[in-house]
Symmetry: C2
Subunit: 413 residues, 2 copies
Amino acid sequence: MTLTTTRPLAIHGIGVLATMDGTGPHGLGLVHDAVVVCRGAAIVDCGARGAVAIPSDAERVDAGGAAVVPGLVDCHTHAVFMGDRSDEFARRARGETYAQIAAAGGGIRATMRAVRAATVDALVAAARPRLRRMLARGVTTVEMKSGYGLTVEDELKLLRAARALRDEGPVHVEATLLAAHAVPPEAASASAWTTTIVDELLPAVAREGLASACDVFVEQGAFSVDDGRRLLTRAAALGLRPRVHAEQLSWQGGARLAAEVGALAASHLEHITADDARRLADAGVVAEVLSLAQVFLRGQRAIPGRLLKDAGCVVAVGTDLNPGTAMSCDLPLAAGLAVTQSGLYAEEALAGITRDGARALGLSDRGVVAVGRRADLVVLRATSPLALVYEWAEPLAAVVVAGGRVVHRWAAG
Amino acid sequence: MTLTTTRPLAIHGIGVLATMDGTGPHGLGLVHDAVVVCRGAAIVDCGARGAVAIPSDAERVDAGGAAVVPGLVDCHTHAVFMGDRSDEFARRARGETYAQIAAAGGGIRATMRAVRAATVDALVAAARPRLRRMLARGVTTVEMKSGYGLTVEDELKLLRAARALRDEGPVHVEATLLAAHAVPPEAASASAWTTTIVDELLPAVAREGLASACDVFVEQGAFSVDDGRRLLTRAAALGLRPRVHAEQLSWQGGARLAAEVGALAASHLEHITADDARRLADAGVVAEVLSLAQVFLRGQRAIPGRLLKDAGCVVAVGTDLNPGTAMSCDLPLAAGLAVTQSGLYAEEALAGITRDGARALGLSDRGVVAVGRRADLVVLRATSPLALVYEWAEPLAAVVVAGGRVVHRWAAG
C-alpha cells in the first residue's frame, strides 16, 4: 500500500524551465519543453521531456506551455505587524520630516504600540493575508523579522507569531530576531538595550529555537558598529546567523562589520563604497538590494546594484515589507525596481528572488530547480521567466507548488 | 411593474466616503458613515447615513465599514497591443541602447509588426485581460490610444478594437487617435505621414466616430511642433480634442503647443519649464504625470509634479500602460509612484486617478461622487481611501460598481 503523501507530482508541458542553476546564457539554466517530477518534498527528476520518465501514479500538473521558475524567496521582510501608517505616508509627501512625525506619536513607535497591544493570535491573523498575497506571486519562502515589540516579552511574542505562521504553512517562514531595530522608549540608551538583548533576549530566543538569525540596524539614532559587534558576536555563539541593516541613510561601517563577523547578509547599502563591496564579496556576505523600500521612501540615492555585482557580491532582492517604508507584498515588483532603479540585469534580479535569495537565508536546499532540491516551483501565467520582472504589479503565479504539494492556483477573474 | 434595470442600488455601511469633490481637508470631501444610492447609471442620493433614505426595493451592497472612492480613471494608456517585449527590457538593463534594439528589429516596430499581423478580434482578446486587471484595481474608465498600426488601415483597426472593447463593457473606453506615435517605416518623413493622417486618417476616424481625441508625440525623431500644430488644428476642426505627448525625453515645445491649441491634456513633461507649466495652467490644459513609465524607463529625470501643482495645473495620473516603457495595469501603483517620485501629495495623486483623471478626458460626469454623476464607485478592502496610494501592487477593490451595476467582486484567495 502506498501512502497518498508519497504519490509523486509531475509538472509537464513546461514551455521553458528556468532552473536558475547558473548555467547557460545569463545563468538562467533554461530547459525547453521540460518536465519536473517531485516525490515527497523533493525534486526527484527534471529535464527535457524525452529524458524524464513520469511515474504512472503521478498527480499531473499541465503547465500548458508556460514558463516555470523555482519558488520565490523573499529574503527580507517585517511582515508581522499591526496597524496602518497611510496617514504617515501622506504627511511625508506633504514635507513633514520623520522627526516631526515621530514627535507626534507616529513612525515606528506607532507600530510598536499596536504590536505591544496585540496578542500572538492577532499578529498571526494580521500577517496571514500578507503571506497569501505573497503566495499568489509565487513566494514560497519568507524571512520575517521581529523589531516592533522592543521589550523582551514583545519581541518573543513577534517571534512566536512567526513560528505559528511557519507551522501553519504553506509558506516557509525563516524568523530573524531584530530587537535592535530601534531604541525602545524605555531604554536608557542603544547600548543599554543592546545589553538587555545580549543578556536576556538572545538566550531566551536560542532556548526556544525561535529564530535562525539575528539582525541589527546600524545607523545614527539607532545602533553603533560597537553595539552591533557585541550583539552579533553573542548571537553567533548561540547559533543565530548574523545579518546587518547597513549604510541605508548614511555610511556607518555596518557593511564592514557584516564582513568582519561573517554575516549571512547585509541589507539596504545605499551609501556603500567600492571598498565595502569588495569586503562583502571576499567574506561571502550576500548583499540584499531592497529597491522597493528605496523608491517608497523617495530616497534620493539609488542602491548601487552594479557596484555590488562588479565587486563580485552575491546580490539578493527582498521586498522589505513593512508599514513605514515599504508597504507592499510584491516581490516580483521589487525585482523589477531593482532592475530599473538599482542597475541589476533582469536575469540577476530574477536570481535575486530565487537562488540568491535562498543564499541570503543560508538555505542551500532551494532557489534552484535540481534533483534533490526542495520541490518549490511556480508555473507562471507567462511564457518567459523574465515576465516576473517585466510585468509589474500583477500576480503571475498560475500554480504554486511548495514542498511537493500544489498549494495555490490562480483564480481567473 | 418595475423593470429590473431600474431597481436602485444602495451602498451602505461606508466607513468613509471620499467624494473627491474638492471640499474639506486636502479636497478629499470625506463623509463618514455614508450611504450612496444609484438609479440607472446615475447617483441619485449620497451623504451621511441619517440624511439618505434607502429605497425599500434597492439592491444593497454592505461596505462593512470600508472606504469608498469614485471609480478610477486611467487617462493615458496604450492598452491595445500584441506581443511581449520582456527581452527588450532585459537588453536595456544590460546597457543596450534603444537605437541598438531598434536596429535589431525591436522597440516600437516589434509591436507594430505584431499589431499589423493581428485581426481586430485578436487585438480585443489581447486587451480584454488587461481591462479585467484594471477593473480589479477599481478602474472603470480607461483612455486607449492607437499608434502601433502606423498605416491608415491598421490605425483604424486599433480604434475598432477599442470600440469593440467599449461596446463589451463594463469598463468605459475613451479612444484616442495617436497615429503620430512614430514615423512608419514606409513614410518618407514625419511630415509626410502627418499629411497622410490629416488628409486620410482623421476624416475616416471622424466619419466613423472612432475616437474622441487626437494625440501626437512631439519629440526628436518623432514629430515636430509644426507637425503637431497642423495635425491638432485639423483634428479640432473635425471634433477630436487635442492631446500632446510633450517634453518627455527632451524639451521640444510640445507643452507650449498644447496650451496654444487648447489641448485637453499634455503628458509626460519630464523636461517642462516653470514658464511652460504656467502656460498649461492658464490654458486649462491638464498635466498628465506618468510616473510608472518614468520609473520603468529608468529615467534619470523625475517628473516635476510639484512644479506643475505650484503653477496651478490640474494634474492627472495615468499608467501609460504599453509593452515598451510601462508594462503594468496598476493605476493605484502609478499614483503611489507619483507621490514618491514626482512629489505629488497623496491626496493629489488620489485626485489624479479620479476627479482630475476625468478632467484629462473632458468627462465632467465622473471622477467625483455627487448626485447626478455617473454611478462608478469602488468599495475598497481598506478603511482609508489613502490605502490606494499607500499599499502598493495589491488589487484593493472589494466591489466595483460601473454605471450603477456591480461589475466586479474581489475573490478572496
